[in-house]
Symmetry: C2
Subunit: 237 residues, 2 copies
């Protein structure tokens, strides 16, 4: 059993909330209202597919800082054009779809996992979402984080070292006193480079039931758990 860390920092999008279900549902409603037969689940995956390349352009200095909402809006606009449906969605449709990322369902075990870990550790969100997005998500889904730390505080995105280092600075601990929990190897690798402990938490349905995603058996470093219950158990909570 691993020792319960002083601080547990959770990635949010994919790890704590189910963006695929939430975004697909809003796309389905929008496409239906606009009489479009575009597949909303596939569109959601394509939209999320633009995420890492967009972060990389900011981190590489190819463009100035832009919030995740701005990046989501740009990739939405581009994808709609690529699907030949750019003329069918108006400004208010697009704003509402970008806002979808502020109101996503949590995985069914997320709130309980946070609550259990809070008995022994300080539990924070550490995410690339904006502070406003994270506050809104946590409130809507009833996620009782002890604090919310956004990559926005550093104007860089994970997996650059700054957001992880900022978490340690703000919490006044050494990086090694923080355990980052995420469902994505790229995030865990960034955290490990910044000196954090890491735990992979498998979210097999992140891209929809039966779709390929990262598995705990692929994790290359730190603790790896196939479920929230296993993670809590292995942390002694």
């Amino acid at each position: 059993m691993a020792e319960a860390p002083d601080i547990v920092a959770f990635d949010v999008l994919g790890t704590i909330v189910d963006w695929h279900t939430g975004v697909t549902e809003h796309l389905r409603e929008t496409f239906a209202r606009r009489d479009l037969d575009t597949d909303p689940a596939a569109f959601a995956v394509a939209w999320r597919g633009r995420y890492l390349p967009a972060l990389r352009r900011v981190n590489d200095g190819d463009r100035p800082w832009a919030s995740l909402d701005t990046l989501h809006r740009e990739s939405l606009d581009a994808l709609l054009d690529e699907h030949g449906i750019g003329s069918r969605l108006d400004e208010s449709d697009r704003r509402r779809l970008v806002g979808t990322w502020h109101r996503l369902p949590a995985w069914p075990d997320s709130a309980e996992l946070i609550t259990r870990l809070k008995r022994r550790s300080t539990v924070v969100a550490l995410s690339n979402g904006s502070f406003a997005l994270l506050v809104s998500l946590a409130k809507a889904a009833g996620l009782p984080f002890d604090g919310i730390i956004s990559a926005e505080f550093t104007h860089t995105y994970k997996p650059a070292p700054e957001p992880y280092a900022k978490a340690a600075e703000l919490l006044e601990v050494d990086p090694g006193e923080i355990l980052l929990v995420a469902a994505h190897g790229w995030d865990l690798a960034g955290a490990a480079s910044a000196g954090l402990r890491t735990a992979f938490l498998e979210r097999p349905d992140e891209y929809g039931p039966g779709e390929r995603t990262e598995r705990s058996t692929d994790a290359t470093c730190g603790l790896a758990a196939a479920s929230a219950a296993e993670l809590a158990r292995r942390l002694g909570c």
Copy 2:
């Protein structure tokens, strides 16, 4: 009845937590252990008395940014010397006393007030305490803020405009969509200057039972409530 605001931002030290009781208790224990007859309640008031002048030196540029812990430590060291007991408290005593400000009791109605307001509004802490101090306070006292915003994010202290403006920026709202609740006129005046709405919440025992403090009848702007229950009622919660 005032309309429930989108965002309620609470001052914390004095407004949500009872620093006087918490700090006095720790001073009493320390002084007793060191066999000192210094009055802990008066010492707590004197320590807090150094707070606003210390913030002002940072805001006026008379010294570089320093965290509230650093300011508390400096004023503690100075006060101990002035009381002629500097040689009686060692480094670990002093560290523990500064840490006291991270673990203070909440006023008995604070958690319920936050919980009630959360039904209609997003409720955040907006305080001069460091992020780590605020996370620790909120966790220890069970204060379910939706988010925590520290003046540390701006390297200036309330009542300078930056921390209030930062809250609006991070929450992606106009300043006028935030209601700042505080037990101190200087904080409300700063908030009003930055364009926030304000509410005075009376905490008659802030400096100990029967000691002089600000009253709701002294409030010069915005809403003024003589109790948490009155504040919630007047906000329709």
